[in-house]
Assembly symmetry: C2
Homo-oligomer: 389 residues x 2
């Protein structure tokens, strides 16, 4: 080991050394981000908000993941380096081959790449509205369009029969079916029977992108992952992310699981340009099922408590299976977002046509208390609802 | 601040705290990466090599950059966060507007996105061979081809007159001109006069991608960046990276500077999905010109010493302006790569048709000594050359 190399590692260690107490971590972050500059809130401003707008994992990565990421600093200047075998670990986790995995910088990259690959030549994407709109936006950006079906009026669930009907009637126009399961922003699942119904009912070979970003929060036997359909060889792409249960949104890691042939079709449009630290963090996260169970429980407990409080206050809440929920506020959401912001609580954006619902992400207990306090200041108590929906 | 949030930061701090000495950083990295798994060398194996194969910056990020990155851990679970105004800082650095910047995960993303955008519909890319082949490979992956002109036989320089001639003769086929300046793998610049000659000589409006990955190592007044052509409004895209002078290859940060209209054309195909830590690191790197000057000097000193030793030993070295150089070995490179590998020195891959040259990246003083020792074991001394080329 040369003097120069030592000097680099020494520098890194010195930098890390200054962060040896939790106070320092926080103070240094504060100072740094306070210089955030134009167009971004300064850190003091950032920290003053309850962040319930982006379905983030408020608890951050568990210690096992932080340790793994910090162990990889020495590769920060390298290209080919020991990467904790992240692709192999993901493949093993799902019981698929490495050729079935496309590693991406968050699952947003999967959505864009699938869109580019299967919508080229003005093919359309078929899905519901509201749903996670990245695929629809990408379709617009590459000059094609989406066929968006409404949710069931009664219970906000996705209507598989309607989807199958349109997929067959307009098969020649459609390049891709998009299914967000559980759905964002409603938090509702498509049952395992319904997924099968969809895959069996649409034209054979029509590509289906199933976005399982919130997979790890689901707590019902009615739901199942769609990875087995990939293993079966169906033209299904499952998108997963380390942004939610693993709390690595800012670090950027996700992946697609798909038949090898589809992975090959998609690769030219994927960057798969992944940060060294998060490769190590992701591999550690896959193994830390204990932390995931803890995050899941904390999330569900806080979600159910808040939902229950809102119902007791007289407002309908859609029963969610994710780390967010929707509450029916009975008036237009946009001005309400601003009222919450004034009370230092950030809530979700409008999801047309459900513009009288508010999407609320699960934050810490403290953040949820701040949310309920703000809610009660903004909305009057109403007669209690009788049903969950 | 809630207990939960504190607990997260405490966890982060605790993880960082274990890294308080340089021995620990190294030991922990070693243990982690030793678990690298199949398909990747275990860490002991990785560390046993002199890494002179990938034009990395062997010294790693300077302390200012490490500090900035470590200050941003608290955003590892977030989406919208204070990001050190990285796009604004880059724009300011170049005297352009933010609309002229496309932030990417390394400059490889720029190359792919430019390729996808301007080669769609089977347009061809025009450039020289050998050069950095990512753009040519991407052209192949999206089912089109490259028109590759040879370098000057005498001095390995890029022939602007030939490029202009072909660009005009085959204008209707060509979607993009690619110019790597300085060129990889030769390390030779295209002079500022030649760049102007090229831009003035090709058909008006033909997009030109100028890859300035090694910009910061150049030390001659004959060279200049092509950013002013972007400001002039020419259809020029300049690619830059934080992987080289800023030593952030593993962290993934780069950008394109281009007319706003071109940035808009490219955006749909870019992921721009960037790690939170490296946004802060990049902003710090832009400001740490002192460290960059130090890296540049160490690199040039070691390059010139090694080049001079090789010439004294009787081998021609192409006079480089980058953090790598090519030496003429007089026989086919592929088996030689293997011989060096056996001596625990990694050197560059073959760059057809220059398959009797070896590309060597600049490593630490220790690594360069190991390289020279291996070179002398593999190759006999020859009569001294009279010229630099």
């Amino acid at each position: 080991m040369s003097v120069s190399r030592r000097s680099f590692l020494g520098g890194a260690a010195a930098a890390l050394g200054t962060l040896g107490s939790r106070v320092d971590v926080f103070a240094q972050s504060r100072n740094q981000a306070a210089q955030g500059g134009a167009g971004r809130p300064a850190l003091d401003d950032y920290d003053s908000f309850a962040h319930l707008s982006s379905n983030e994992n408020c608890w951050g990565p568990p210690e096992s993941v932080m340790k793994a990421m910090n162990s990889a600093w020495k590769y920060s200047n390298r290209y080919g380096y020991p990467d904790a075998n992240i692709v192999g670990e993901i493949a093993k986790h799902h019981g698929v081959k490495q050729e079935n995995i496309m590693l991406t910088a968050g699952s947003g990259e999967v959505l864009d790449v699938v869109g580019t690959t299967y919508l080229m030549g003005n093919k359309k994407v078929l899905g519901v509205e509201p749903s996670y709109s990245t695929v629809y936006q990408h379709a617009t950006s590459i000059k094609t369009t989406a066929i968006k079906l409404p949710l069931n009026q009664k219970d906000y669930r996705q209507d598989m029969a309607a989807m199958i009907k349109v997929a067959n009637q307009r098969a020649s126009e459609i390049g891709l079916v998009y299914l967000c399961n559980p759905n964002n922003p409603t938090g509702l699942i498509v049952t395992k029977q319904e997924v099968k119904q969809l895959l069996d009912g649409i034209p054979a070979g029509m590509p289906v992108l199933i976005d399982e970003a919130y997979h790890h929060f689901v707590d019902t036997p009615d739901y199942a992952t769609s990875v087995p359909y990939v293993i079966e060889g169906r033209r299904v792409i499952v998108a997963r992310t380390f942004s939610k249960i693993a709390a690595l949104a800012g670090m950027r890691l996700g992946y697609a699981i798909a038949p090898a042939e589809m992975v090959q079709q998609m690769r030219p449009y994927a960057m798969s340009s992944i940060n060294a630290l998060v490769k190590h963090g992701g591999a550690a996260a896959l193994k830390d099922t204990e932390s995931q169970a803890k995050i899941k429980k904390m999330t569900i407990d806080l979600r159910e408590k808040t939902s229950s409080d809102l119902r007791a206050y007289g407002y309908d809440v859609i029963p969610s299976q994710t780390n967010f929920f929707m509450v029916h506020i009975g008036r237009e959401i946009q001005p309400v977002i601003d009222e919450f912001r004034e009370k230092k609580v950030l809530v979700g954006r409008p999801f047309p046509p459900m513009t009288q619902h508010m999407r609320v992400s699960i934050g810490t207990a403290d953040e949820m208390e701040r949310f309920m306090k703000a809610f009660k200041e903004i909305f009057p108590a109403k007669a209690k609802t009788t049903a969950a929906i």
